[in-house]
Point group: C2
């Protein structure tokens, strides 16, 4: 990378890319210019740190790029907004292979495309370890869907894969713990599906973006820290209690991995983290739209319970824990 230099690298990662129409001015000037037809936009940012949020021996550069965009796009969509542009700060060691950076950029662009937007700008700097900072902007085509709108009597529903990412992380950890230099091929093969979801979450953007206007959604969030933690944010912001039904949350595909690793799959479902699914509350009279599964009920009170009882010992992801 040192040979190409910053401007050579910027040219390389932008070569052959096509900006989406909402990007009125892309890379190459002091800042990008993005359309905001509604007179407002949403913005969110996440930082991913090597060996904390991803491992280069567990994920390809392409996977890491996709995940970095997916988790930010999910936050935009969780406001009821359509992603309009991403900017990406990339810190990497000067001996990083150029091919790694190219694949990472391809992954960023691939997921940006899935989310309907493009990479409008960025910054590349030298750093002792890989750091990826993504900022996502979006176009709120309807009133922003906040955390604070849930009301007692509302239905709680989820869209997307809960627990798969946590199960995949557990499989990767177990496979590596057995043989750090040569992860157990058996485990990785047997549970390839959950490992793939951990490497590249696939937020069901369309479950939110294609909601009919008639659907009365009252609160919405991205599930990133674990379902209990993220519904806890809705409960706290809305001043309500949420009770989940364990049977409705069951994911048959996680049973075998749970048995193999001695984990109750419900732990992954409730607190696994990095699901990048969506959790929402809807008025009771609304028919749940396609892609949404009813998993609980909003009540008066506070906190989140499962079958009426608190779940202890499941914290969800916490950055400085």
């Amino acid at each position: 990378m040192g040979e190409l230099g910053e401007f050579g690298l910027i040219a390389l990662v932008n070569a052959g890319r096509t900006q989406t129409p909402g990007v009125l001015l892309g890379p190459g000037d002091d800042a990008a210019v993005i359309a905001a037809p509604e007179g407002r936009f949403v913005v969110t940012t996440d930082m991913l740190v090597q060996d904390r949020h991803f491992r280069t021996d567990w994920s390809s550069a392409h996977d890491i790029g996709r995940k970095a965009i997916a988790q930010n796009a999910a936050d935009v969509v969780a406001m009821g907004a359509v992603p309009s542009a991403f900017v990406v700060g990339l810190g990497c060691p000067s001996d990083t292979p150029v091919e790694f950076v190219r694949e990472l950029a391809d992954g960023l662009w691939a997921e940006a495309g899935r989310a309907g937007a493009s990479i409008a700008g960025g910054d590349m700097v030298r750093s002792p370890l890989l750091i990826i900072s993504v900022t996502a902007c979006g176009d709120p085509r309807r009133a922003p869907i906040r955390l604070s709108g849930a009301r007692p009597g509302d239905v709680v529903a989820v869209a997307g894969k809960l627990g798969w990412s946590g199960a995949g992380l557990a499989v990767l950890s177990a496979a590596t713990a057995d043989a750090p230099d040569a992860p157990s091929a058996d485990l990785l093969t047997e549970f390839a599906e959950v490992v793939a979801v951990h490497r590249v979450p696939q937020p069901p953007y369309e479950a939110v973006l294609e909601l009919p206007d008639t659907v009365e959604i009252t609160a919405l969030t991205d599930v990133s820290d674990g379902l209990l933690a993220d519904l806890g944010h809705i409960a706290e912001s809305s001043g309500v209690a949420i009770d989940l039904t364990a049977a409705a949350l069951a994911v048959p595909e996680l049973e075998a991995a749970g048995k193999a690793l001695g984990v109750n799959p419900l732990d992954w479902i409730l607190a696994g983290g990095e699901d990048h699914a969506f959790a929402a509350t809807f008025t009771d009279s609304t028919d749940l739209p396609e892609g949404w599964v009813r998993v609980g009920r909003v009540r008066a009170g506070s906190g989140v319970t499962v079958d009426g009882a608190p779940r202890s010992g499941l914290g969800g992801w916490e950055s400085f824990a």
Copy 2:
């Protein structure tokens, strides 16, 4: 920091802050919502890495916070846009003192206020070293001022302090080299002014934001990589040559530091980096507005010269050099 946890820290850095009116929804939801009254916005991002872009033994946490915002706000203003909101990703070791984070946040907010905006959201993660990623958004109240509009015959002018930051960095380096554990107090005292500018650049936002509508500005950039390098971007984008007049660039305040360190101050002025001044081209018939100093002329051709000759050996800042 580990004791407070991510959510405690987020509460701490946001306590007592007042969002500016353009921030329609601030921290606490999946994303912030920002006003874009013109139906479009500008966005830019920069990543600052500890010991590469700042040193905690050379700058206070407050100074580092101010600089991180200033360099991004300058990029927004260099498009002719008014900063409307910042989002900040912060990576830091779990043993970082809470007081350091509080002072850093105070610095971020102080400079955001100088730029007329507030910190609308962010992300805090654990990282082996300090990483600050700032994304700045802005409201283009006029047509974006691009790099590509300079035409032969235009006047080249600058606003802000050129070379001061480079001189300050040289003083800090020399003072530390003499006595790494106890920097030479003499040098730091004698040249305190340039050291202060290196620690906290003060982009003259008003020189751009208060330009009368009648002023015909044709191209504009933030001077961050060094005047030659940044004017080089205007020359290349516009397909023109730029010739600077050395006498017009002279900065008497840098003479003494140049003599003390054996450096030609013109080197700092042309290639020092981190000035966060502004360089622009104006039509010849326009009266230069207040705060702007004429330093050269746009001609047909390519490249940037000083008194008609190329300057070699001055590269400006390059991330992977």
